[in-house]
Symmetry: C2
């Protein structure tokens, strides 16, 4: 078998066999197939697509390129979630405690943020002392002891995916549905999940710009799950405006804690209840989504989710006092409330622009190696459809210096659009795809 | 400017500007743009194509990646030819002396053969002592003194093309019309040609399998020529059966010498007359093709073309006696005439199979580094449309050992097909594309 022949086969629209895909991924992982062949292959895949069977075989080949975590001795059934990334997406911080509070142990390995979307680990690192580098043994014992873990990867899961992703990033081959689907699912399968709720964000503030693309990706991932005998549900979620109000790191942790206290923004709360409800139902804690959502809501109401969050922070070395005193989180030196420049109904709060502004303030990173400023960010005070009067508080900027503050004000104002006639609110979800 | 953005632009069907193409080719030539980006870009170009303007800018960028030879001080007008490669294609060996004999100095830098098509330099090296590695100074002085040179490249012309071609060869990105057109034309332009006759072979024994593909390539090359202010004519030539009878090295030289003596196969003779006629006309030695062909035919009849060939061999150190005694060329240890296995009209002499058989006997190379056996090959004794009787000589194999001979006999027989009813002869040319 020669790599060039497999590139040509895919280039001409052929379907690669399982053996051919294994040959390519193994050769690439071990450096026998050079980057320049892998990138040409990735471009051919991007152009010609992959069948469901090919996409699954690619996923499996990437799973098998590294260690596969077996949690069966620790948890009877491992449920996990994955978000494709959005602006203001602090869902894991609330959903994990909810799910854990219903008696389902959950250990999640998360990633750092890149570009205009924030990363869950960056947010958790706002909590003084919180460790995101648990060893494999710490992961297992914490999952056993308190039923909740939120950390980085202790071993590199699906290393072929890591290597291929780095190459795709610089060769214009990121935006291929089968490659994205295989990338996400290979890491989830390698991390030992039995069931996965996929939170696929679509809109201006997401990598998938419209419902059609998001649905294609969701269907590809659900299909991989089915072929891998995993229970999978994918939600197509709106990411045209930020999720919740806060976009940053410490301010998102604060919003998550408020939500766990029963005081968060209603859209974010509802989003978390739905995601958690699906996870609880997939794990057969309840027999249908409605009951799952009720159970999720109850664990918020009775404080058990908050207690789980507290246990989590404590177990991973974080300052547990933040749970009842968010002022202990890092705070920005400058804070300014920006008033609405006109009266009207809000028609747009451009999630991408808000995300870029937060990143520009220092909350996110353009390059993998960039440091993150945990204190800065933006809190919006309204949602699309709200009526505002000129002079009402529109959004608040948290910045580290005056120049940044001025620029963020300008950008934040540009992200908001107004109309004189009433405007519909945006839906939270567009669709649910069940495996 | 970032290479990845240019890949994405082309991936999405965009048109790259001259500046963008220069940036990419310069960066690639100097190693600033890595192979893995260049291969993804080449795949995107293969899939999305290039406009005429882009193809020309790519050609120019590759020309400018190295030295451009200026022959204006040596010859008033430099005419050149290029064949896209076929089986039994020894055209240069006859056309160059014809053209030189009409008073047009011609210095050609040629390449070695690869795969099932032979290379002009390999053929010339059959002549004992013939040097294909003239220095630039030798090239210039020989062109001045005797008006004919046939050698390899003294400096690497269009090095960006050499580097890109090597990469395309292993990444499934060879078969892109704009990339092939730019590759051919960049070398011709860099070698200082003012006018070029392109001999585009189409059929089973050529890289372009059908007239449509060949015409597309021809039109792309003619368009580049126009934009570069070069006079260009492209011929779409039939390569379903071998050109002439001999397929090998020494046996092709022998056939070329016989043709210069007025004794070659009629199809090959006619092919040479047409190519030479166009070259002579492009150089304005004659005002139309018919006169050009007449002038070409005359230089064969009066022996002046043969004399030029003799001068060429002598000037480059070859044993000049071969011109009148082909038995001095390398000869194979084994030679067998294979009889026709049945009576009938020949419907097919598969040029690719004949070429592969000659290569398999040792006449060609699969890899760039492989040595070549100058003595071996196949001579066919008929053309498509001929009537043969069972037992008539069908083809002759020249081999170095018995095992190879047996295999070549089997393959050569498989390449010939017969019918009971008369069959049309194949045309020599399908079309002529004028710039």
């Amino acid at each position: 078998m020669r790599a060039v022949d497999l590139i040509i086969k895919k280039r001409d629209g052929g379907e690669l066999s399982k053996e051919e895909i294994n040959f390519f991924i193994e050769g690439f992982t071990h450096g026998e197939i050079p980057d320049y062949q892998a990138s040409a292959w990735a471009m051919a895949v991007l152009m010609k697509g992959m069948s469901g069977r090919e996409t699954f075989d690619l996923t499996q080949a990437m799973v098998e390129s590294g260690e596969v975590i077996d949690l069966s001795a620790v948890v009877p059934f491992a449920v996990d979630k994955h978000s494709t990334g959005g602006v203001g997406d602090k869902t894991s911080l609330v959903v994990l405690p909810i799910v854990a509070a219903t008696g389902l142990p959950i250990g999640k390995m998360s990633g750092k943020g890149l570009s205009f979307t924030g990363g869950t680990l960056d947010k958790m690192e706002s909590i003084p002392g919180y460790r995101i580098n648990l060893t494999r043994e710490e992961f297992i014992s914490q999952l056993k002891n308190i039923g909740i873990v939120l950390t980085g990867q202790s071993v590199e899961l699906a290393p072929a995916d890591g290597k291929l992703y780095a190459l795709r990033d610089v060769t214009g081959t990121v935006s291929s549905i089968p490659l994205i689907a295989a990338s996400v699912m290979s890491k989830k399968i390698a991390s030992g999940a039995d069931a996965i709720v996929l939170d696929v964000k679509v809109g201006v503030g997401a990598f998938m710009r419209n419902v059609q693309e998001g649905t294609q990706l969701a269907e590809a991932m659900v299909d991989i799950g089915k072929r891998a005998s995993k229970r999978v549900v994918a939600l197509i979620a709106n990411m045209n405006q930020p999720l919740g109000n806060a976009v940053g790191n410490a301010i998102e942790v604060q919003e998550a804690i408020e939500t766990l206290h029963g005081e968060g923004p209603s859209d974010f709360l509802e989003h978390c209840i739905v995601v958690a409800g699906h996870m609880i139902t997939l794990a057969e804690k309840t027999s249908n989504l409605e009951d799952g959502k009720k159970l999720a809501a109850r664990s918020l109401r009775d404080g058990s989710a908050l207690s789980k969050f507290q246990l989590l922070v404590e177990a991973q070395g974080g300052d547990v006092r933040v749970v009842n005193d968010v002022s202990l989180l890092p705070s920005a030196s400058l804070k300014e409330v920006i008033p609405a420049p006109e009266s009207g109904y809000i028609t747009l709060i451009d999630a991408r622009q808000i995300g870029m502004t937060a990143m520009w303030l220092g909350a996110g990173r353009a390059m993998k190696e960039d440091p993150v400023d945990h204190a800065v960010g933006i809190v919006i005070h309204h949602k699309v459809g709200d009526a505002v009067e000129k002079g009402d508080a529109l959004f608040t900027v948290f910045a580290s210096d005056k120049k940044n503050l001025d620029e963020a004000r300008r950008r934040g104002l540009a992200a908001h659009k107004f109309a004189l006639t009433p405007v519909d609110r945006l839906p939270l979800f567009y669709a649910t795809i069940v495996g």
